[in-house]
């Protein structure tokens, strides 16, 4: 991947120029889908954009010392890493990439969650600390399944290159892996039934209780970009491999949108679980998928 290609992917498509409007669109889709299922009209189309602009114009309380510095830096780090994760997705055919870019993508997807944990503790709010502790416990649980699923798909292809995985032929292993990733996405995106860390009203706003103004706007945008990156990862694994660029980009957008709708439906159907049940669900129920996928991948590897 040369520098021009990398910059074009980071800044244009599927990077910031595409990802920021897509993030707002996905946030709106989620809210609108929930509203329609509750027989409401829901927010106007531009709502996430208005929210962002309004938050940018609000004042932020003055904070001194290292905690203040951390509270300023953490949302920006989360935003940058989510944007980087979106930029790495191999949406267009022959878009480049490098050996091991899957590992970088997984690391970048994990950074916002770690920033969120640090943010809650840095804010010194008791509710922030509870939210952060919950996020830490939950990320240990769902990441085992999430990482095992992706590693099993990668191991079956003998490659950690995203482009190779995007060209994966349809197999039971791929579907098992995608299913395991889909089960982890509500926890990764803090949606019902796993909206435990930022449990609205229950622990105020979780790790973001003390954040205001442009810092909160950055967190919201980072969350939107996380949506684009996580649904994009599923779209990358599911999209048919074609050489026509517009068809490839179109199928990426359509599949991402379908995943957003699916997650919204699940979020509306379910109520919030408590942290014990969440951890038990991931360690007892879904680990089976991941272990199956990994054993299947190992078998495939031994046979080849």
């Amino acid at each position: 991947m040369n520098l021009t290609n990398a910059l074009a992917r980071l800044l244009l498509f599927p990077g910031l120029l595409f990802a920021v409007p897509a993030a707002w669109f996905f946030l709106w889709t989620e809210r609108k889908a929930v509203a329609l299922m509750q027989q409401r009209v829901g927010p106007p189309f531009m709502q996430p954009f208005f929210d962002f602009i309004k938050l940018m114009g609000k004042t932020v309380p003055r904070r001194s010392g290292r905690a203040g510095l951390l509270m300023k830096a953490l949302p920006l780090i989360a935003l940058a890493s989510s944007a980087g994760a979106v930029g790495l997705l191999p949406v267009l055919p022959a878009s480049g990439g490098f050996a091991g870019d899957l590992i970088l993508l997984l690391a970048l997807l994990e950074v916002p969650s770690m920033c969120m944990i640090a943010a809650g503790f840095a804010s010194r709010s008791i509710f922030g600390e509870i939210g952060s502790a919950r996020e830490a416990v939950m990320s240990v649980s769902y990441n085992v399944v999430f990482l095992l699923a992706i590693v099993s798909i990668a191991a079956s292809q003998h490659s950690f290159r995203l482009e190779t995985l995007a060209q994966l032929p349809s197999s039971p292993l791929r579907w098992l892996g995608v299913l395991a990733i889909l089960v982890c996405l509500p926890a990764k995106l803090h949606l019902n039934p796993f909206s435990v860390p930022n449990a609205e009203q229950e622990i105020y706003a979780g790790p973001f209780t003390e954040y205001a103004g442009h810092e909160l706007a950055m967190w919201d945008l980072a969350h939107g970009l996380e949506w684009v990156a996580s649904t994009g990862l599923v779209a990358t694994l599911l999209a048919p491999h074609v050489q026509i660029w517009w068809l490839s980009a179109g199928s990426f957008v359509v599949i991402s949108f379908a995943v957003v709708l699916l997650l919204s439906v699940v979020a509306t159907w379910t109520a919030r679980l408590n942290i014990d049940s969440t951890v038990r669900f991931y360690w007892r129920c879904t680990l089976v998928f991941a272990v199956l996928a990994t054993s299947f991948a190992l078998l495939l590897r031994l046979r080849s």
């Binding site: 106007p44 309004k54 932020v60 309380p61 105020y204």
Partner: protein, 156 residues
């Protein structure tokens, strides 16, 4: 007014985030506020949503006649809401202390202690009246800031 300021005013009018606070209310107004975000009234059409933290809110919705115990909490929460902010007094209690008038445990009315932008009278007020109050407060929020910045420009 330049484009950014106009966009900011428009966004403020269309994205009022609420924080609800009970200052000794009988719960009637609180139920009506919750009813206004239910499917029948759907406050989200105005962009309004209830927030868990006062730091995220633009509009502080206060119900109740301001009891002695809750006074300090109201002042603290009012200070925690970041500028620009507006206050909506829900019901007759914060406006006039209602049937609790002359009680020795009541410190109301609310505007003795913090500036109130919109009063929504009623015991309790209807959800559509609350929505109208919130929409008015959002408009005040946008216009106030716009006037402030215009005054600053003139001074400069």
């Amino acid at each position: 007014m330049n484009l950014w300021k106009r966009l900011m005013c428009y966004s403020r009018r269309h994205s009022p985030w609420l924080f609800h606070m009970n200052s000794g209310s009988c719960n009637g107004c609180d139920i009506e506020l919750v009813a206004s975000i239910s499917p029948r009234y759907d406050a989200e059409q105005l962009g309004a949503c209830l927030q868990g933290s006062p730091r995220h809110a633009d509009i502080l919705c206060i119900s109740g006649p301001v009891t002695r115990n809750s006074l300090q909490a109201i002042k603290t929460v009012y200070a925690q809401v970041c500028e620009p902010k507006a206050v909506v007094a829900l019901g007759s209690c914060p406006a006039s202390t209602n049937v609790f008038i002359d009680s020795r445990t009541i410190e109301g009315p609310l505007n003795k202690h913090i500036p109130v932008d919109v009063f929504v009278p009623g015991c309790p007020p209807r959800p559509d009246a609350i929505l109208q109050g919130v929409a008015k407060a959002a408009a005040i929020l946008a216009e106030r800031r716009a006037k402030k910045s215009a005054a600053q420009e003139e001074q400069a």
